[in-house]
């Protein structure tokens, strides 16, 4: 599992590559820490190359969202595959995120 963070003008893009499962979640949580410091920008969670997300991955997404709001940031989840879309839907988090 790899996480790349790119700053692009008013956006900060976090690109997730691979499987965000329980074993990889600890490192990913560490990798996304810079997102918690971002102020007044759009945070894009780019999931085009994310193959799978577990509960631990969902918790990471939720913590990014939780930190973003008080920092004036909007979180957008982009390009999720069918399997991940299903995870968001059946856990009831689909309406919590802006999924594009």
């Amino acid at each position: 599992m790899k996480t790349e963070i790119v700053h692009n003008g008013n956006q900060v893009i976090a690109k997730f590559i691979g499987r965000l499962d329980t074993p990889s979640a600890v490192q990913t949580a560490e990798d996304v820490k810079p997102l918690m410091e971002v102020e007044n920008k759009e945070i894009i969670l780019e999931c085009a190359e994310l193959e799978y997300i577990s509960s631990s991955g969902l918790r990471i997404f939720l913590s990014i969202r939780k930190e973003a709001a008080p920092h004036g940031c909007k979180v957008i989840v982009r390009n999720i595959n069918d399997e991940i879309r299903q995870v968001f839907m059946m856990t009831g988090f689909v309406s919590l995120f802006d999924i594009q």
């Binding site: 879309r85 299903q86 995870v87 839907m89 059946m90 009831g92 309406s95 919590l96 802006d98 594009q100």
Partner: protein, 357 residues
Amino acid sequence: MLDLHAEMLLEEYDAQLPVYQRLETVVQQTLEQALERNGIIVTAVSTRIKTRESLEGKLALKGNKYQSLSDITDILGARIITFYTDDVDRIAAIAEQMFDVDWENSIDKRALHQIDSFGYNSLHYICRLPKKMVDDPYCPELNRIRFELQLRTTLQHAWASINHDIGYKTGVEIPREYIRRINRMSGLLELADDEFSRIRTEITDYRRRVQQLVQSGKLDDVQLDGDTFNSYLQARPFDSLNKRIAAINQAEIQEVPLDEYLRVFRALGCKTLGDVHRLKKQYEDNAYRLARYQLGNTDLDIISSAVGIQNICIVCILSTGGGKLGLVRFFNVVNGVNSQNEAIAELTYEQAKSLQL
């Protein structure tokens, strides 16, 4: 040109200014904290120290009236502008407890009007800080200096400001007819103030009644609207279903807002909370079946508190022939219109089809 006495008072003002500034900070903070403690939301809390120029003007007009600077009670002024007339009285009661009020010099302008007259409405308290609040042996003036606390509503403030502006700007004596019209406006605003207070009281009563109806289960008597739906949600009607769903994978439940579902229930034809409650009862078992089907062969151990209500709506839409299009509309409401909603609806529709909901 000021006389010698007035000049002496101005010198005293210059010397005492740092004490007034310290007093100003204490008064401002004390008032803000008291309002917060009592949960009173107001339009503004402000303080100001009379400028030297303004004091000069006052002394030029009536300098002989004052023996010393401490006789002038409005060098430090504090003002609280409230939304409602009731709050003026509430804050006055709080101020009476916090400060030493100089009753002889305090005025309730509201009570001064004759029954057939209208005009400036405000409550002016002349106060001192009691020793129990501030006790600085190096600055005993903090307890001696009096300050003026003005309490008025937003509408009273608007009238006073406009009246001041009109009265001072023209520079000529205003004809009686115009004064009468200005004062007539004060009467109108007094009516509006009373009406706002009454509306607030009635809304509070209404909310209380709705909560009682929700608690007593008489939901058919409660029209479905934003307020009543919130009261219904406060009773946490979807908790038991969420807990059943959470038990599938021993999941934790994350709280999320559910207010968007008001629009969904309205679209589903609910007119009262009774309709919502019946819909919930009718479809919650199938909503659970859908969740068990979806989550049962996963290890997802986190769900949102929206999962129960979401599945109830999905099951209701499909059971009443809403089909795929109905699901798209549903997701458009709860997620916002989004190109992904069609894919989510398609996925949900296929899953639900295999359950023959």
